[in-house]
């Protein structure tokens, strides 16, 4: 495995499978235990470097690191030296001087984790950079699919919504393709990126046509700031054409599942009754996030530092 996890393409099929298998073993080992803590990363330091607001991803990484007994330092841009104008590089050098073994970074600028990886000796894990990638989200999604459906090879995954601005979609297309799944993107033409034709995925504009051929439907969050930026005429129209409601859910094959990376807008891209149905894996995804990130931290930080 590579030393950093910056994008889905850093994982080949064997690496990705190793992460998922490791997460499954960790899950099984910790199930029903009173002491949900392992000594594996004792004495290692993980810095959560968050330049963008995030609740679930930061907490998930923090919990993952703590369950492996690493020391965790949370650094958020607000109320830190960043608000005094410190550059990413200077912050990185500071962390380096303090001896961070791993840096988990979220940044609004695509590519920030790549830059960071050149400045620090520890492993860098991308926890979301701009509209680029969010590889651990893709790993936990793949883990959830495999857990529910028992396989990834040949699974038909339909990703619906704002693909243009979605790092979750980008990472998922890459990773799911690596793992042998068949990905279809469904979105209004204005919310598909230029060059989507070269992605390893089918592209469609009609959700109703895609649903009967989907084993997994992954709904992307409609980001509030996009609603007013003329990417689509109105929230109601978006919801009618691309929202997943009970009627559309009924068109899915019997064992199909519904996923959402969260936080979701109930009533917008996903109806409340769909989000709360037995097909929905939204709560499992959160739980799986912790074990998947434990697997990533173990595999990146557990061994010798080069």
């Amino acid at each position: 495995m590579k030393r950093h996890l910056l994008e889905a393409a850093d994982l080949d099929r064997d690496d990705a499978t190793l992460v998922l298998d490791t997460a499954a073993q960790i899950d099984q080992a910790l199930a029903g235990r009173e002491v949900k803590k392992l000594p594996t990363l004792r004495g290692r330091t993980v810095v959560n470097l968050f330049y963008e607001d995030s609740t679930r991803t930061r907490i998930s990484f923090e919990l993952a690191a703590k369950r492996l007994s690493a020391d965790v330092i949370n650094f958020s841009a607000k109320g830190s030296s960043v608000s005094k104008g410190e550059s990413l590089k200077d912050t990185a050098l500071t962390l380096e001087a303090m001896g961070a073994d791993g840096v988990v970074v979220r940044h609004s600028a695509s590519g920030a984790p790549h830059r960071l990886a050149n400045w620090v000796r520890g492993s860098v894990v991308n926890a979301g950079d701009g509209t680029h990638e969010h590889p651990t989200q893709a790993l936990l999604d793949a883990y959830t699919i495999r857990q529910r459906l028992g396989r990834l090879d040949g699974v038909r995954v339909t990703i619906v919504g704002d693909v243009l601005h979605s790092r979750v979609a980008r990472s998922n297309v890459g990773l799911l393709h690596t793992l042998g799944a068949e990905v279809t993107l469904v979105a209004p033409p204005t919310l598909l990126p230029v060059g989507v034709g070269s992605w390893p995925a089918h592209v469609g504009y009609d959700l109703d046509a895609a649903l009967p051929k989907s084993d997994v439907v992954m709904m992307l969050r409609v980001q509030a700031e996009r609603m007013n930026a003329s990417f689509f005429p109105s929230a109601r129209e978006y919801s009618r054409r691309y929202g997943l409601d009970a009627r559309r859910m009924a068109a899915l094959p019997d064992d199909a599942i519904v996923m959402h990376p969260g936080p979701m807008n109930r009533g917008m891209e996903i109806a409340a009754e769909v989000a709360d149905s037995v097909r929905s894996t939204i709560v499992e995804q959160v739980a799986n996030g912790v074990s998947t990130r434990m697997a990533v931290l173990y595999l990146l930080l557990g061994g010798s530092p080069q």
Partner: protein, 207 residues
């Protein structure tokens, strides 16, 4: 066959390379260990008056250390059942995440950790492994057990004790004591994993 290894015997030059135990030898050794476990379970049964009929075996849990400790534990349980008619609980505890040599030897894939439904609290746990060498795997297994519950007693059963301990750990049940030099390797092959039952001593040159 000595119960505990004599330090003077486990120093170089070691055993001659070759097959130490054949398939029939492994079966015989496993049978003997199963009998010893039955006796031990009887002598260590809880004195609360319960479960007297099964000779304390209901209290026993065999916990295999992957990779080869796991099938070994299942075999011991099968032999105990064949001798007594009592089905003994079996589990596996992966110790990878508890090892102290990950930094030296790098990370590796994990194996399953599965405990019986009743857990291990208050029970007689016997850790089962194929080879006892430095004792570091056993130390890691003891740490893992501490997180998994609180057994009444923990004992250790190994198919082969090859000496060279680096920690104050000894086995309670030993299939065979084998004097080796540090340069040698002891390889246990089990049908479940390797397709054949045998124990080999080789000079370390493969790695």
């Amino acid at each position: 066959m000595a119960r505990s290894p004599d330090p003077a015997r486990s120093t170089p030059p070691g055993s001659a390379p070759g097959t130490l135990l054949s398939s029939a030898d492994v079966a015989r050794v496993v049978d003997r260990m199963a009998h010893q476990l039955i006796e031990r379970a009887a002598s260590l049964r809880p004195d609360d008056g319960s479960d007297q009929a099964d000779g304390g075996l209901a209290d026993l849990v065999l916990v295999g250390i992957p990779t080869r400790g796991a099938p070994l534990a299942r075999r011991l349980a099968a032999r105990i059942e064949a001798f007594t008619g009592v089905a003994v609980d079996v589990g596996t505890a992966d110790i990878t995440l508890y090892r102290d040599d990950l930094r030296l030897r790098g990370v590796r894939a994990l194996e399953p950790t599965v405990l019986p439904d009743d857990g291990i609290d208050g029970r007689l746990v016997v850790l089962v492994d194929d080879v006892l060498f430095s004792g570091r795997s056993v130390r890691a297994a003891l740490d893992a057990l501490r997180d998994l519950g609180r057994p009444r007693s923990v004992q250790l059963a190994v198919l082969v004790d090859r000496g060279h301990r680096e920690l104050p750990i000894r086995a309670d049940f030993v299939g065979k004591n084998v004097p080796t030099s540090r340069a040698q390797q002891v390889r246990v092959h089990l049908a479940e994993v390797d397709g054949v039952d045998e124990v080999l001593v080789t000079e370390r040159d493969a790695e």
